[in-house]
């Protein structure tokens, strides 16, 4: 692996589902000579794209797990992470963004900025990842890259600037005009592998000059040299423009927009040049860790190979030879045989076989230096773990992980399936922090939890295919919560003094709604409850939060304040105060008007205009609230909030209502109180379950 980090790029490709991420990745690998044949997503050849290494991904035409791969372009190493486009898999996107230095945001030249692009953009903002945009599918009917560049401004707030102009659009799309070099690029050969540089066609010359002016104007904000050159009316070199744009990109102040068609092999090579020209190298990026030995102070990590090693495991895969752990090294260097410490559990590991990946093929390497992405074999760890040299105790900042909102019971068909299912679940929970599993002690069923129906469906499929674990699934269940709606007082005495060692504790105070999941406030004065029993009181209250007294759903949003109590010199104990707190909770809770809350999802439907009314109707029928509907060209975008419990099977309903022409995305928004009529149904259902 090259050690000159100026020649390294760690980039991701993010976009809305079906924008052509995987197709673009395939083309990049083809032009960088990593593959010798182009396979299409859902290709006619039945092979499927190289980046979609999971069988399921190839079948569905979506990328589920990010495949990391590396390639070389003009003496630079590019580590490429292909990221999933569906919202249900955003944890994958977030994990990828965590380890990337830059992103190519792909947009469809017909559909423009779509709902998922907005989610991905928010994630990029969260991790401050610089990006360039690529408007793909310029060969499609209705392609309008200028509109998309404008939408980047209006919808995502990017300071977008066109770096190219298209030479023809739709079926006449032949190439692009480079506004920096003022040259026209055409792509010849069977797969567009030969770039023919020609003069700009006469009919585009004026438009190109104008667009170049705009580009220079936008870039001049980031370079005094360029501003001076404009004022002095001297020649403006390509280098000057590129440097200015690069500075803007690094600060996330400008988003250069490139155009082309990955499917038709148009303008991928200039995009690769742009990755080198405008996206940052590991040296340009500021990375931090927290020092666990020093009060969790932030420490700046340096891409210095001689410093102690800091690396982050961002993805796990079960391979032929055991667990494959993808890592990004931020500082130091991991060589074969090095001892590293997993800061999560303090366990020491020895780096064995080190590799770098090309989707499903691997190449052995001797070391993974800072700034590079690679993979280790045979390491037992979870996704998100930090590995460091034994001399330091740093942790990379925790990733933003959401709580699951949907659950499903799964039952293995036989004993063999049971064993395989356990293996699979063990793997999946390590791979994906938003996928959780537990055994319901009352029913004995294994429950899996995740971020959406598709999320869980994919894992059930993977269980069957990869682990041969045949399982039957129950109906999906929504993760309801309970909360209180008003303040209430409690005063409870736990007293068992009927012989032998007694138990005594009195706890008094009040509970009230709050924003946090649970808060405990101690306002005991004068030693009415001795200090050593306060933690027991808190523990007693906290224990009640797991299962609400109303419907046995977890309780959230309760602040408990204790301000009075009593103890007995002999009979009071931690256990007695825990029991008193539990009693006090039950007493106060039912008086505090408890209600059930349900997860509300943000649902965005994109539909051809003619189906707008019926799509809005579908939302109405599902207790949904339409926030707005915007028509954009031939498509309408309907934004709404719908209870998750009403969304099961929605994709089928939507398909039949729109002749399969509409698509939707769904992500968790908030918890809201369930209407009384629905709450009654839930109570009934719970009672029936109990009887059964």
């Amino acid at each position: 692996m090259i050690r000159d980090l100026k020649r390294v790029r760690n980039i991701g490709i993010s976009a809305h589902i079906d924008s052509g991420k995987t197709t673009l990745s395939e083309r990049i690998l083809f032009y960088t000579a990593r593959i010798h044949k182009i396979n299409e997503v859902r290709g006619k050849d039945g092979v499927g794209a190289v980046m979609d290494s999971m069988e399921l991904e190839r079948e569905r035409g979506i990328t589920i797990a990010s495949a990391a791969t590396y390639c070389e372009w003009k003496k630079h190493n590019i580590n490429l992470i292909d990221t999933p486009g569906h919202v249900d898999f955003t944890v994958e996107v977030e994990r990828s963004l965590r380890v990337l230095d830059g992103v190519v945001l792909i947009l469809c030249s017909v559909a423009g900025v779509q709902s998922q692009s907005i989610t991905v953009d928010q994630q990029m903002k969260r991790y401050e990842v610089p990006c360039i945009a690529f408007v793909n599918k310029c060969d499609r009917s209705g392609a309008n890259p200028a509109k998309v560049a404008k939408q980047l401004k209006t919808k995502l707030g990017h300071n977008s600037v066109l770096m190219q102009l298209p030479i023809g659009l739709e079926d006449k799309h032949e190439g692009v005009v480079d506004l920096v070099a003022m040259k026209a690029y055409y792509f010849e050969g069977e797969h567009g592998e030969r770039v023919a540089v020609k003069d700009i066609p006469d009919d585009l010359l004026e438009a190109a000059k104008e667009a170049r002016e705009e580009l220079i104007d936008a870039a001049s904000l980031f370079s005094e040299e360029l501003t001076d050159a404009i004022l002095e009316e001297s020649d403006i070199s390509e280098e000057l423009i590129k440097n200015a744009v690069r500075t803007g990109v690094m600060d996330r102040q400008i988003t250069p927009v490139f155009l082309g068609s990955a499917y038709k092999n148009k303008a991928i090579q200039p995009l690769l040049d742009a990755v080198l020209d405008y996206l940052p190298s590991p040296l340009d990026i500021h990375n931090e860790a927290i020092d666990l030995d020093n009060n969790e102070e932030s420490v700046v990590l340096e891409s210095n190979f001689d410093k102690p090693t800091v690396a982050l495991a961002f993805k796990l895969e079960d391979g032929q030879y055991g667990q494959l752990t993808y890592i990004r090294v931020y500082q130091g260097c991991i060589s074969k045989g090095d001892t590293l410490v997993n800061t999560r559990d303090g366990k020491k590991i020895k780096a064995g076989r080190l590799i770098r990946m090309h989707a499903s093929q691997m190449e052995d390497v001797e070391e993974i230096p800072a700034g590079h992405i690679g993979a280790m074999f045979g390491i037992d760890c979870a996704s998100g773990d930090t590995f460091v040299s034994p001399t330091i105790n740093y942790s990379m900042l925790a990733m933003h992980v959401m709580e699951p909102v949907i659950s499903l019971s799964i039952v293995p068909k036989d004993n063999k399936a049971q064993i395989n299912m356990s293996k699979a679940l063990n793997r999946f929970t390590k791979e994906d922090p938003t996928f959780k599993t537990y055994v319901d002690h009352e029913t004995g069923e294994t429950i899996i939890q995740g971020m959406g129906e598709l999320h869980l469906e994919v894992y059930v499929e993977r269980m069957k295919r990869e682990y041969k674990a045949e399982v039957t699934t129950g109906a999906p269940r929504v993760a309801y919560r309970e909360t209180i709606t008003q303040k209430s007082l409690f005063n409870y005495t736990h007293k068992k003094q009927t012989g032998g060692a007694g138990q005594f504790g009195r706890v008094a105070g009040f509970m009230e709604p709050c924003e946090e999941d649970f808060e405990f406030v101690n306002k005991i004065t004068g030693g009415r409850i001795p200090t050593q029993y306060i933690p027991a009181c808190e523990k007693g209250f906290a224990a009640c939060m797991a299962k609400g007294p109303k419907l046995e759903f977890p309780v959230t949003g309760v602040r408990v304040t204790i301000d009075d109590g009593a103890f007995h010199a002999v009979d009071s104990s931690e256990m007695a105060f825990q029991a008193a707190a539990r009693g006090a909770f039950l007493e106060g809770y039912m008086k505090a008007k408890p209600v059930v809350k349900e997860p509300i999802m943000k649902v965005v439907i994109e539909t051809p205009n003619e189906f707008q009314g019926s799509c809005m109707g579908l939302i109405n029928q599902r207790r949904g609230i339409i926030q707005g509907s915007q028509e954009e060209g031939v498509m309408s975008v309907i934004e709404s909030q719908v209870p998750l419990s009403e969304m099961f099977g929605f994709s089928t309903v939507l398909r039949s209502a729109t002749q399969g022409k509409a698509q939707f995305t769904m992500e968790f928004s908030s918890y809201k109180q369930v209407p009384q009529s629905i709450a009654e149904e839930i109570i009934k259902q719970k009672q029936e379950e109990k009887k059964a």
Binding site: G617, N620, G628, Q630, E631
Partner: protein
Amino acid sequence: MLKQDLNLRSPIEKIMGIDNITNSKFGAVLSRAGVGKTRFLVQIALTQLLKDQKIVHVSLDDSIGKINLRYNEGYTNLVDSIGYVDPQKAVRLWDDISLSKVGISYNDVTFDTEKLKDYLKSFKKADLPMPAMMIIDGLNFDEDITDILKKLQALNQEFSTSIWFAMKTHRDEAMAKDGYPVQLETRKDLFDKALFLQPVDNKIQAVVLKDGNRTDQSFLLDPATMMLVE
């Protein structure tokens, strides 16, 4: 409580009466560009939201983002007009009532009453309360839109949803002989309520053109907030 207070402060209560505005079939707010038709219509719609009614705001000019912004502004102006209100309470109330507002953004080409009909039908189908009011902003009344108005009239009859329009007039145009702007004159029978806004000495004068015995009454509004000038 805050809901009632806000509605009592609403300029609509004084000018037209809150219960009165949904009694109409078609209502119109007229003015030349930039005087405040949309902002006044937003105040009309807010009165219904504060009565826990649903409203649909259809715009042929504004994006959804802009529609939302206009409602946020309108609500803030209304809250500010009653002096001190617990900000958290005001925000909670807005979070609550704004869910009853549906913004739909079309352009001239894609505006289609059939889509609105499909949408309104779905309320019936799901046994949900119908929107009390529909605001239609951006229809070009300088063109022949008889067909569209006929279809909207049918919607009004079928779903009992009153419809309020923004009607753009022009500075250089003389009033028709009835004293109505020409855009209204030719369709005056369709509209049972109409209000004309015009700038007068740094204020905006709201003149009731059509509304039973309220006709010809006039009021002064603050151009910054569209609240009544005391």
